[in-house]
Amino acid sequence: MASELRIEKLKTALIGPIDLRLGAGECVAISGPSGAGKSLFLRAVADLDPNDGEVFLGDRPRSACPAPDWRRAVALVPAESGWWADIVADHFSGGRPDPALLSALGLPDDAASWTVARLSTGERHRLAIARAIALGPQALLLDEPTAALDPAATEAVEKLIRKLLGDGIAVLLVTHAAEQAERLGARRLRLENGRLAGPAGAS
């Protein structure tokens, strides 16, 4: 199940070309000034914006994979989450989130029956992470996963990420917190002007 994620000459109108290889169970943390294209990079990997280049999950090329299947295998959680139904549970495949997953994120069981309108920003974001993980992805793309969270929730999310890394899932995350990258044992890279510019802190 565990597969590496290999990004080759990924390019959009605004960023790239970018080459990056993440081993199975490896965590890479991207930082860089705002407007450098960090979010666009993750969107391009998920094939959400038109792009050139190729991405492999194991030996499977993205171009040979229908986009919906690809996005279930390489799941992106954007910095701002979208909701289209009134009740939280309707956003989960099968209509019911796994209670164990919710409690791992510090959310009560009945969070599934909450209405989206009453969610706080932090609850929204953790539920967005939960519904992506519920897809059973082999790689996870997280855009500022803890920017909106309090310290306790941040700890819960980091603990869950470490568990997923232990299961062999590759995690590519955008974060401004150098300590977070350290806590996750991540390889740190810097993105500048749409290109990977070597290890963070080196410039």
Binding site: A46, L48, D49, P50, A67, R71, V77, S81, W84, H91
Partner: protein, 269 residues
């Protein structure tokens, strides 16, 4: 029991404008600043109708299928422009004009041709005296429906970008991810014709039927004609709205199941 048709003199027509002139005077008096617009639009109506009367008279006299088709296409051209103008955000390039106008033309022509060849059956079937007014009524209603539907679709899809992309990211296919908003657009497009069918005969008498009755046709006959026309209008509007909305959803997404808002223009000034 067909009574005589009462012909109007130009003096009668001019006299009827008295109440409109009264409105203009009131607007001046109350400083509503509507008098200019009122005057201009009234004048436009008079000029346009005289011209169209002239054109129709000529076209009826010449009775050529090609000329009839040409007039129909000109009507489509104007209605297509109207659809485009009524959208706040429209697809870039020829799509912004082409999708709405194309769907309207296709639906209108299919329905009009079918009605002319099978139900109404003038001789020849394309006789401009029947084809053009019928096509015009159908086109006008399809135009209203399509412009409402497309305006709803593009505005909603633009506003609900996060919700649509959230679904795409969870592995939804493009038509599924946009489905709630497609439905909303279709409902907006169908509403005018549904309302007008429901209210016809109770709240108002349709213009065509009123016209026939005024010109001396037996009300029962006028009603039959009106029902036929309502069915045709409903059918064409439905087909046109469905075609225009589905084609726009197709254009607003791509085969890698992405939302392509880059194909949508900014808000109209």
């Amino acid at each position: 029991m067909t009574s005589a048709y009462i012909a109007l003199s130009y003096w009668d027509v001019a006299l009827a404008a008295i109440f409109l002139v009264l409105n203009g005077a009131l607007s001046l008096l109350l400083r509503l600043q509507l008098e200019r617009q009122l005057a201009i639009s009234a004048l436009r109506m008079v000029v346009q109708l005289f011209l169209v009367g002239l054109v129709l008279k000529t076209v009826f006299a010449i009775a050529s299928p090609w000329l009839t088709l040409l007039i129909a296409l000109v009507m489509v051209g104007f209605a297509g422009r109207e659809i485009r103008a009524r959208q706040e955000r429209r697809l870039r390039g020829v799509w912004g004009y082409g999708l709405g106008a194309g769907a309207m033309m296709l639906a209108g022509m299919i329905v009009t041709t079918t009605a002319l060849t099978t139900q109404i059956g003038p001789d020849p079937w394309w006789s401009p005296r029947y084809a053009l007014p019928l096509f015009g009524m159908i086109l006008g209603n399809a135009m209203t429906g399509i412009s409402l539907a497309l305006d709803t679709l593009t505005t909603t899809v633009h506003r609900e970008k996060l919700a649509i992309e959230a679904q795409l990211l969870l592995g939804y296919r493009r038509f599924d991810a946009v489905a709630p908003f497609t439905r909303r657009a279709l409902r907006a497009g169908f509403m005018p014709i549904i309302n007008s069918m429901a209210a016809t005969g109770i709240v108002f008498l349709p213009g065509m039927m009123t016209g026939q009755i005024l010109s001396g046709v037996d009300p029962a006959e006028a009603v039959k004609y009106q029902i036929l026309v309502m069915f045709l209008i409903g059918g064409a509007t439905g087909l046109g709205v469905l075609g225009a909305v589905l084609a726009s959803v197709w254009r607003l997404t791509d085969n890698r199941h992405r939302l392509r808002l880059d194909r949508l223009g900014g808000p109209a000034a």
